[in-house]
């Protein structure tokens, strides 16, 4: 449980961080809150020779209101997400999800950027960001670019980030007022990753589902966007039969691992149960 040797760097600007990463090559890794990276290093499953601590870069902090969207700096901690009045008003599902991540100690240091960039299907933020259709602003050796969350996740620990790129912020479109939302997570205990979890954001119009997006956590190599399931629900009154159909469609795209949380068939079914519960809770919260 002791990591290998590494050198520690603490740049104070995004440019410096990007340059360090470029100069040091693939032996260097960005360090955010360290609550995914350092455990991996202690297990010697990761052995970077250089850690580039992003903690000294003021530009990576903060939550800003852009009207139609909200921009959250990559180094914003999960605890800060929980305590933001802006998010509570406009994107309450972020608070709900953050409260289900790990435990308070970890949330004080764990960051949104680290959580979405990590590429672990067990992280809760990625599926939520896919559900919300967020975009990641990225800086790298060849300049800045933006990657949609829905295009970001390629495999376990494989993302669309190129070598030397860092996520600088996450931009989230604000869902319409009166939307319904819910994040349902089944876990064994405080501090556990999801056995299965589902994020739902939907809106009603005239008693029928007008918009719906669904994300699923930890039931595949990557977080999942359950597009077909959402599609099935559009235009329905979220009646039990439609929910059952959507649940089957969502279950069909899962491919969970069997682990201490349960065998694959159980975890698939739990994705379905979480989705069904999230839909019903979201519906109760939505304006008709």
């Amino acid at each position: 449980m002791i990591p290998g040797q590494f050198a520690y760097h603490r740049p104070s600007s995004i440019e410096q961080a990007v340059r360090l990463l470029a100069d040091l090559g693939d032996e260097a890794r960005p360090l955010a809150g360290g609550h995914s990276l350092i455990p991996m290093m202690k297990l010697r499953m990761a052995a970077p020779e250089h850690l580039i601590d992003l903690g000294g870069i003021a530009d990576l902090k903060g939550i800003r209101d852009r009207g139609a969207s909200i921009i959250i700096g990559a180094m914003t901690t999960q605890n800060e997400l929980i305590h933001s009045d802006l998010l509570a008003a406009k994107l309450p599902i972020i608070r709900e999800t953050s409260l289900l991540i790990a435990d308070p100690q970890i949330r004080y240091v764990g960051t949104l950027g680290g959580n979405v960039a990590n590429g672990d299907p067990g992280n809760d933020m990625p599926a939520l960001m896919m559900c919300l259709d967020a975009a990641y602003h990225v800086a790298g050796p060849s300049g800045n670019r933006t990657i949609k969350a829905r295009d970001f996740y390629e495999g376990a620990y494989f993302t669309a980030l190129q070598e030397g790129e860092i996520v600088t912020s996450v931009e989230i479109p604000v869902p319409p007022a009166g939307h319904g939302y819910a994040y349902e997570k089944l876990k064994r205990k405080i501090g556990d990753y999801a056995t299965a979890a589902a994020a739902v954001v939907l809106s009603f119009s005239g008693g029928k589902v007008a918009t719906c997006a669904i994300g699923l956590t930890n039931v595949s190599e990557t977080p999942l966007l359950a597009e077909e399931a959402a599609e099935i629900l559009i235009g329905t009154a979220l009646d039990p039969a439609s929910i059952a159909k959507a649940v089957s469609a969502a279950e069909a795209i899962t491919a969970p691992a069997s682990d201490g949380r349960g065998p694959a068939d159980y975890r698939t079914k739990m994705a379905g149960v979480m989705l069904s519960r999230a839909l019903q809770r979201a519906a109760r919260r939505a304006a008709a």
Binding site: M1, I2, G4, Q5, R44, D103, L186, R188, K189, I190, G191, D192, Y193, T195, D259, G260, R261, G262, P263, Y266, K269, M270, V273
Partner: protein, 806 residues
């Protein structure tokens, strides 16, 4: 007497003696980070050791190349079995009469087994160096399933003893067989079963888990070549036994071995045995001439040092049709892993499994236990229980439920009908124990009244109907358990460890100014001995508990004792304290009589003093007497006021209790919520009610953990699963239910202060209570037994099998 003279009540309160909710004195240092644990000890020139561990569960070692590791700056030595052989230490004896490899000798038998010991200037270098040791393995077929251990073509695990047909506990029937242990009357049992109206038979698997103390195992060895003396600090629940074993192995005289157990962060049975890390630290210190420290990390702790349970218990009961139990038959298949390293008293290969007739008057019974080897870590320790009593109580308390189900009776009625009755104590059980005292009926009745048992059953019936009508997806389970523990090992006629009889000891010295120090053969790991032992002395000799120091763990100063596990401290050492204190009191009485110029028989004891009968103004306090004892003793009397007692108890003590749990289970997720948990404990005389309550809370929390998810599991290739806190279920305050505690008091008739021990009862009684609640929730659907641990996916699978998800 003027109005400043303290009243009798005030004097009594000032003592903080037995029965007082005295605050734990050790918490002052623990809660401020001022404890002194093994890893806090730093010696000049100290080196650090770390293990190269096997990645395979069963493999031959073709070669070990340490050259790259030795070339790393800061690495001092790499020990392998070859080096240890020179000292005859490649293998070591276990407490169970087997031999265990210290470092892999020719082959490895379980994943994470110790293969080489790297010694370096600091722990970071050691951690880097273990990666540089190259071990070449040739994989061998792996044996994980104990039911296949004795197959004719099973892989040979222990080549060292494959042709030995006699083991430490009799005949071995197969090269992977360790022992067969039989107790009871087989023909009588067979006959009772043949005649029975009703019989049941179920296999209950008590899964493999781990004691998982907060502090992992650790040792620091310092060998002084000039003096030829070895000092060993370690996480030892039984420091004197470690000293004896170290002397036997190393041939260093016991007088030149100093074993010190400083503060210990929990043991729960994990810290009773002797581990390769201790031996390697000692050898490395002898070889390098410098102190060597070894500290396990969490994964090493969970995957290598001493698992608990892993018992497959095929349990049968025979009964009349109106519910009188007439016989019990149990067969256990015991999975011991690669070496038999159980920490039981030596004569008991399956511990006290023969307490499995429980709290019931079962006229005849028969028990067999087959121990087998598999490619898993060794252990089989008593995790917060007295030597397999947890397993025994689980078997009988599940079996009672299954029998009640078959008879169509409420299990509480079945228990009441078969309880050993108050007037039957001392009670001889069919499998050979003499229960000291109990009032089971009263305890059970008190518990039923406290929870409103009848109403709970009525509510459950309503919920089941609602469930059948599809109005709810929740099932309600009511778990009941009634347990009898067997603690305080123990009478030397029954119990020894490698020939060392299991007495315990206390030495008390009263200082001239009236304060005192007590030194003990036991070793607290969080139980609060410093607090409670002082209370016993306070009541016995009238010195305030705050003026009494309790010291344990240093074999140079403490009298010889067998340590702390199996709830033996209060039953055995607690008795030694009372006996030593009474010797002091006897001498004090002689001095008081001399000072007051009366005959000893004319004195009576009053809280903190001897007074002349009928003349309470004429008295001498213990404090007065202490000064005189040293400085002006009566003519002919030796000065001083101290005493030692070595106590060999005449019998075990038998605490008992009645527990009830109410659970609500979500059949769609398998999540079980504990709505209520009520625990009534009878541990005889209550020394400190607050500490008892704390022990009950802790024991119940560990019971909850074990029953509801805590396990060490292996895949088919023998890879250990779940050996980190991500998977190993250690409940936090969030998951832990609220505990309601209660008690009755039935003192032990043979114990000097009537105390029975309590630390482990809640664990022993708690596990079956939780399991019974889960099982009870599904029983109305025809389910007889759902295996532990009851984590959500297993409960969900049970619901699935019962067709509840259609």
């Amino acid at each position: 007497m003027n109005d400043m003279t303290p009243t009798r009540e005030q004097r009594e309160a000032q003592l903080q003696g037995m029965g007082c909710k005295r605050k734990r004195v050790e918490d002052i240092r623990f809660t401020q980070g001022k404890g002194n644990y093994v890893d806090d000890i730093k010696l000049p020139g100290m080196l650090y050791g770390d293990f190269v561990r096997s990645s395979h569960a069963h493999a031959r070692i073709k070669g070990i190349d340490a050259s790259k590791a030795l070339a790393l700056p800061g690495v001092i030595a790499v020990l392998t079995a070859e080096e240890l052989k020179g000292l005859n230490l490649a293998w070591m004896p276990t407490l169970a009469g087997d031999m265990q490899m210290v470092l892999a000798d020719g082959k490895v038998l379980f994943q994470n087994q110790e293969v080489a010991f790297v010694v370096a200037e600091d722990r970071y270098t050691a951690a880097d160096a273990i990666e540089l040791v190259e071990v070449e393995y040739e994989e061998l077929p792996v044996l994980v399933d104990p039911w296949k251990a004795m197959a004719p073509d099973a892989p040979v695990l222990r080549e060292d003893i494959k042709d030995k047909t006699e083991g430490a506990h009799g005949r071995r029937e197969h090269y992977n067989h360790i022992f067969k242990w039989q107790v009871g009357d087989r023909p009588g049992t067979d006959e009772a079963f043949a005649r029975a109206d009703v019989t049941i038979k179920e296999t209950f698997y008590y899964h493999r888990t781990h004691p998982c103390p907060l502090e992992t195992c650790a040792a620091l060895a310092s060998f002084d070549k000039v003096k030829g003396e070895l000092t060993l600090w370690g996480t030892f629940q039984a420091p004197h036994v470690v000293r004896t074993v170290a002397s036997l192995l190393s041939k260093i005289p016991e007088s030149k071995i100093h074993v010190i157990a400083p503060d210990i962060g929990g043991g729960f049975g994990n810290k009773v045995g002797v581990y390769p890390g201790y031996v390697c630290a000692i050898v490395a210190s002898i070889v390098t001439g410098r102190p060597v420290k070894w500290v396990e990390d969490r994964m090493e702790n969970l995957s290598t040092t001493s698992f608990a349970r892993d018992y497959h218990m095929t349990t049968e009961l025979a009964a009349t049709k109106d519910g009188r139990i007439t016989a019990m038959r149990v067969h256990v298949l015991a999975d011991h892993g690669a070496f038999d390293a159980c920490a039981d008293p030596s004569k008991w290969p399956a511990g006290f499994m023969n307490i499995c007739t429980g709290s019931y008057d079962i006229p005849v019974a028969h028990l067999t236990v087959d121990g087998v080897y598999t490619n898993k870590a060794p252990g089989g320790v008593a995790y917060r229980c007295s030597f397999r009593v947890t397993e025994a109580v689980y078997a009988i308390e599940r079996a009672i439920e299954v029998l009640a189900q078959k008879l169509g009776m409420d299990s509480v009625d079945l228990r009441m009908k078969n309880f050993i009755r108050r007037e039957q104590f001392p009670y001889q059980s069919a499998l050979g124990w003499e229960y000291d005292s109990g009032d089971y009926y009263m305890a059970m009745q008190k518990a039923l009244d406290a929870v409103g048992y009848k109403e709970l059953r009525a509510e459950q019936a309503r919920k089941r109907e609602a469930f059948k009508r599809g109005e709810t997806r929740e099932l309600m389970g009511i778990g009941v358990s009634f347990f009898t523990e067997i603690v305080g090992a123990g009478p030397s006629k029954n119990c020894d460890i490698l020939g060392v009889a299991m007495f315990d000891s206390c030495e008390i010295r009263v200082h001239p100014t009236g304060s005192a120090i007590a030194r003990m053969g036991t070793k607290t790991q969080g139980q609060g001995h410093e607090t409670t032992y002082a209370q016993i002395i306070a009541t016995e000799i009238g010195i305030p508990a705050d003026d009494i120091m309790v010291e344990e763990g240093n074999t140079d100063t403490a009298p010889y004792g067998l340590g702390t596990y199996g709830s033996r401290s209060t039953p055995v050492a607690g008795a030694a304290i009372a006996m030593a204190a009474r010797k002091i009191k006897a001498k004090a009485q002689m001095i008081a009589a001399y000072l007051l110029e009366v005959h000893e028989d004319d004195l009576e004891w009053d809280v903190d003093r001897f007074q002349v009968k009928g003349l309470p103004e004429k008295f001498k306090t213990m404090k007065d007497i202490a000064w005189v004892a040293y400085n002006a003793p009566p003519p002919g009397m030796e000065p001083g006021l101290e005493a030692v007692s070595y106590y060999d108890p005449p019998n075990m003590t038998y605490p008992f209790g009645a527990y009830i749990c109410v659970m609500d289970i979500d059949v769609d997720t398998g999540v079980a919520k504990t709505r209520r948990f009520y625990a009534l404990d009878d541990c005889g005389t209550r020394i400190n009610p607050m500490i008892i309550e704390g022990q009950v809370h802790g024991g119940l929390t560990e019971a909850f953990a074990v029953a509801m998810g805590q396990e060490i599991d292996y895949d088919e290739a023998g890879n250990v699963k779940g050996a980190s806190f991500m998977d190993f279920f250690l409940p936090t305050a969030v998951e832990t239910p609220y505990w309601e505690t209660d008690y009755t008091v039935t003192p032990s008739p043979h114990h000097p202060i009537g105390a029975k021990g309590v630390g482990e009862s809640p664990h022993v009684g708690g596990v079956p209570c939780f399991s019974n609640a889960v099982n009870d929730a599904f029983a109305f659907l025809g389910s007889t037994h759902i295996q532990m641990p009851h984590d959500p996916w297993r409960i969900w699978k049970a619901a699935e099998r019962l067709g509840l998800h259609q």
